[in-house]
């Protein structure tokens, strides 16, 4: 194949996004963490679905399960925020709309994480 290199390949400093490869790396780090976390999570869901609340609370509120769920929430919310940022940057081109959607997406990811972690802590400490 012909060499299709253009001068654009020579990205200077931290590139157009101003943060270099930090997202690339963080996305892979959280992806690796997600592998054992989501496998355990799926088994957990199958185990608890349909059980009465007292049993579900006892399982989700137990120290190991609660800690496991909090770690998963942190990892997946970081991962999904970066992933959605890539999708928005690919399809939304107006600068104003793009920034607005990126901010909304960040708020969504943070809100999901905060609400979920609060619920898990309440299950663990407050029943």
């Amino acid at each position: 194949m012909a060499d299709m290199t253009t001068p654009l390949r020579r990205v200077r400093h931290l590139g157009a996004a101003h943060d270099g490869t930090s997202h690339f790396w963080r996305q892979r780090l959280t992806a690796a963490a997600n592998v054992p976390l989501v496998i355990g999570f799926i088994i957990l869901i199958v185990v608890v679905v349909g059980r009465p609340r007292s049993e579900v609370v006892a399982i989700l509120g137990s120290p190991f399960v609660a800690l496991f769920l909090i770690l998963m929430i942190v990892s997946i919310s970081i991962h999904m925020r970066i992933g959605m940022q890539v999708i928005i940057e690919d399809y939304v081109h107006g600068e104003g709309r793009k920034v607005t959607m990126l901010a909304a997406s960040t708020f969504f990811a943070v809100a999901i994480a905060a609400v979920s972690i609060f619920a898990i802590l309440k299950l663990a400490f407050g029943g």
Binding site: I45, V49, G50, R53, G83
Partner: protein
């Protein structure tokens, strides 16, 4: 800047409607769709956790829905979506190291992604039901 000759020698993008979709392309699109679906699906997880933490009545409505055949179907599809996206991610991780990009290998990886996600979903549900 690129010269005129360079532009002319670049490959043309395929016309999607008369183009036989390669399996790698389908898996690429599926990876993005499953990722976006999982992003939205976290709302279901948050709702369920909050319902469990809130009280008996809130939990009964969430549990009643998720324990119904429709709810279980959604959970089964949700778990496949997670596992398909996970195996797709592992495929991309392999590619990050510059291996598995040959024509035969990349097609094989794409099919392994699809078959593996279906198999792994059934396996994890079997494990969950056995532990339960």
């Amino acid at each position: 800047m690129p010269s005129v000759e360079m532009k002319a020698s670049r490959p043309l993008s395929p016309h999607l409607f008369i183009y036989r979709w390669p399996v790698t392309m389908v898996m690429s699109i599926l990876h993005r769709i499953t990722g976006a679906a999982l992003y939205v699906g976290t709302a279901l997880l948050a709702w369920w956790l909050v319902a469990a933490a809130t009280g008996e009545r809130a939990f009964a409505s969430a549990n009643g829905f998720l324990g119904s055949w429709l709810g279980l179907l959604i959970l089964f599809g949700y778990s496949w979506t997670i596992l398909h996206h996970m195996l797709g991610g592992i495929r991309h991780l392999v590619w990050d190291f510059g291996v598995g990009l040959g024509k035969g290998t990349r097609d094989m990886l794409a099919w392994a992604n699809l078959i593996g996600s279906a198999g792994l979903t059934v396996l994890l549900w079997a494990v969950g039901l056995a532990v339960r």
